[in-house]
């Protein structure tokens, strides 16, 4: 159910999306996927105790579809039961050179001149034992718990 609406002339529009994580995971890469009107996106985890932690934020330029690969020692370790939260921002005004005709409304569609709000996230699952070992390894390295 896509209910986004990006009115013509609007300079700062936000969308939010959520995905429940049912298993322990290790995230290896983050790639935002927006279209001509996107400006930036942030990836956040909401833990079961309602703590929130921003994992990454990146500006968006439609000319560059960049995958951001995490270094191994900072790859986010997300415990099962968490919620991923992705926030995206858009600019459908003349201040955005990619927004070719800000006189008009824009919504979801397949064209570059329509919009999307995806986050491509590469990850693999961990057993409880593997997850605990990975967290312990982070703590031993003085890099924090890794999952918070």
């Amino acid at each position: 159910m896509r209910i986004w609406t990006f009115p013509g002339g609007e300079e700062d529009v936000r969308t939010d999306g959520y995905e429940f994580i049912s298993q322990n995971i290790r995230i290896t890469a983050f790639q935002l996927h927006l279209h001509n009107f996107g400006t930036q996106q942030c990836l956040e985890v909401i833990y079961q105790d309602n703590r929130r932690q921003t994992l990454s934020c990146a500006f968006w330029d439609f000319g560059w579809h960049i995958a951001y690969n995490y270094l191994e020692d900072v790859q986010p370790l997300i415990p099962k039961g968490s919620m991923m939260h992705v926030t995206s921002w858009y600019n459908n005004s003349t201040s955005n050179p990619w927004a070719g005709d800000s006189r008009n409304w824009v919504g979801f569609g397949q064209r570059s001149t329509d919009e999307m709000a995806f986050s491509w996230i590469s990850w693999y699952g961990l057993t409880d034992e593997e997850f605990e070992a990975a967290v312990a390894e982070r703590q031993a390295a003085g890099l924090g718990a890794g999952s918070d």
Partner: protein, 208 residues
């Protein structure tokens, strides 16, 4: 931690589709508040295509911002087409920009509006000399006036071909059957460099 196997990695490609309703956001316009009733209708310009005789077909659709309310908006000031020149901003059109010979307000637009997004609902044909003009569909409902600005400018944005049609409407029932379409690879040419190019490992500069 070692990736256990490729299969696990590929299965681990997670796509987060951001389509869920969100909580309210302060400071910025929000794109995702869900309303069952009480909202207006956004007319939408879908794009244009040139016909074999040189004329153009302009496509329009709409987004009824309500999830349940399906209103009727009769033809007239609240549901009309106007011809203008020099429109540069969204919203109600400056009356000074309206051309004298605006043509009929009835261009085949709907008067009953189903909930949510309805793409490529109807089309309007304009002549081949429709240059520097805008065909504007204005809808006023629930106290709000919204517009769609149709023109034949910016073909890179608004050009509609079978690829656009197929991607957004599919083929078959919702698509345009009987129209041949196959995607074509792009053709690339480097200005000033003709003929076959070669590069070697460790020496990627083909000019050497």
């Amino acid at each position: 931690m070692v990736i256990r196997n490729k299969h696990a990695m590929y299965n681990g490609l997670l796509t987060l589709l951001l389509t869920l309703p969100l909580t309210s956001v302060s400071g910025v316009a929000t794109a995702q508040i869900l309303h069952r009733f009480g909202q207006s209708i956004q007319p939408v310009y879908e794009g244009f295509e040139q016909n074999s005789d040189g004329s153009y077909t302009l496509w329009f659709g709409y987004l009824n911002l309500n999830f349940d309310e399906a209103p009727d908006v009769e033809l007239g000031a609240s549901n009309s087409f106007q011809l203008a020149s020099g429109v540069i901003i969204a919203g109600p059109v400056d009356q000074d920009l309206i051309l004298e010979n605006a043509g009929p307000i009835d261009r085949g637009q709907p008067t009953h509006f189903y909930p949510r997004r309805q793409q490529f609902v109807f089309s309007v044909e304009v002549p081949s000399d429709f240059i520097d003009k805008e065909l504007i569909w204005t809808l006023t409902y629930n106290g709000e006036t919204r517009t769609a600005v149709g023109s034949i400018e910016k073909g890179n944005i608004w050009g509609v071909d079978e690829g656009v049609w197929s991607a957004n409407r599919g083929r078959g029932t919702n698509g345009r059957t009987g129209v041949a379409y196959s995607n074509q690879p792009p053709a690339l040419r480097m200005v000033g460099v003709e003929g076959q190019l070669s590069a070697a490992v460790g020496n990627p500069d083909f000019r050497q």
